[in-house]
Amino acid sequence: MGKLESEYEDIPGTYVFDGKRCIEGFQLNKFCKSLDLEANRAAFRDDPSGYLDKFPMTPEQRKAIEDRDWLGMLQLGGNVYYTFKLAAFDGITMQHIGGAMSGITVDDFRQMMLAGGRSVEGNRSKSEWK
């Protein structure tokens, strides 16, 4: 257990990309990173399943990608800067996945941002989310 792990794991709705997640999500993030190259994007577009075979992930990780389960990816070691590459591949924005991860529509998410964003009040500790 890391020195601060119990403290940062208490922050609700937040997946700190620490050593543990970094190792767990290695192949998932590597897949996402591969989409930087147009040749790989084309290969993934043509044959999603065959392309994913190149990255030996867990079945849960693979399903999260196939389902575009943006929150699930994070919970399985994904990092948002990597998973965003898949969002960009899909042609959707950071607001889309912000909404998806927090369980609201993209329009509600945009509205929330226009109103000043999500407040830190009530969102500091998991104990506040019970």
Binding site: G13, Y81, G117
Partner: protein
């Protein structure tokens, strides 16, 4: 001798760059933000430094999950804007300053900072957006740039205290550089924001305002903010603010604020900008 003429703290929001690249800065959503940049650009035109040290982070563009470099100075003659999924950003290439970069690296290593050297490194929005914010859309960037990439993505990020000390060591190295140059330093990223998880969209204007205030008022408080406080109060990506402390460390102990601008929202983020100068 080279000398630091000022420091800039500046968010590096991708959509701010995109708004400029796509000519949207006068749209109602963007206008208030960009109007606030004008006085900063005016300062920049007057200051016109020969070199800007840009403290920024790479967002899985130049680096990937195989290797997470902690502090990296770019010593190449040129850096290309990274392709972040939409082709390379259509801004000028960034001209480096190999001699000054090598001097900085030597000096910092002698001062016991463990600095990586990059000789080929595409620079992503973390570096190019603050240039756009401060310089607008020139045909060539009017300064040479030393990229200083900081790991803020993988925990553990460097301590804020460490970043501040790195700034102080940079100041010493710049002061000792044997050419008559003016140098500005940008600390980029932040301010409070969270891109990920169920808490996505978090913005904390109180935290941000206090941070802006204490850059000139109480730096000791800022350098004592730890990982958990950043992540809890400023969002998981708000920890990017440690990069502003490198900038702050490179200035005198006493500084005054020349200008600030704070606006919510820009995409998912609280956008902040501050200009600091040493007291005379």
């Amino acid at each position: 001798m080279a000398r630091i003429i000022g420091g800039v703290g500046c968010s590096h929001i991708p959509s701010v760059g995109a708004a400029m690249d796509n000519g949207k800065t006068q749209e109602p959503y963007w206008k208030p933000l960009f109007d606030g940049y004008e006085p900063a650009r005016e300062w920049m035109r007057k200051a016109n430094p020969d070199v800007v040290i840009v403290v920024y982070n790479d967002h899985a563009a130049a680096f990937d999950i195989s290797l997470t470099p902690m502090f990296t100075i770019g010593a190449a003659p040129e850096f290309l804007p990274a392709d972040e999924g939409y082709g390379r950003r259509k801004v000028p290439n960034v001209r480096g300053y190999p001699e000054l970069a090598s001097h900085l690296i030597e000096s910092l290593v002698f001062d016991e900072f463990d600095i990586n050297t990059a000789l080929e490194m595409d620079v992503d929005h973390g570096l190019t957006v603050p240039l756009s914010v401060m310089y607008g859309q020139p045909r060539e960037w009017p300064c040479r740039v030393i990229p200083l990439a900081v790991n803020v993505v993988k925990y553990p990020q460097p301590l804020g205290r460490r970043c501040y000390k790195l700034g102080k060591a940079i100041r010493k190295a710049v002061d000792e550089f044997d050419e008559d140059l003016t140098v500005a330093i940008f600390g980029t990223g932040g301010m409070s924001h969270q891109l990920q998880g169920e808490r996505a969209g978090l913005v904390n204007p109180d935290f941000d305002k206090a941070f802006l205030d204490d850059l000139s008022g109480d730096v000791a408080r800022l350098t004592n903010i730890g990982h958990v406080e950043y992540m809890r109060e400023a969002g998981s990506e708000g920890i990017e603010l440690i990069m502003w402390l490198v900038m702050r460390g490179a200035l005198d102990d006493k500084v005054h604020e020349v200008y600030r601008h704070y606006h919510v929202p820009a995409s998912n983020t609280g956008a902040g900008l501050i200009i600091l100068e040493n007291d005379q």
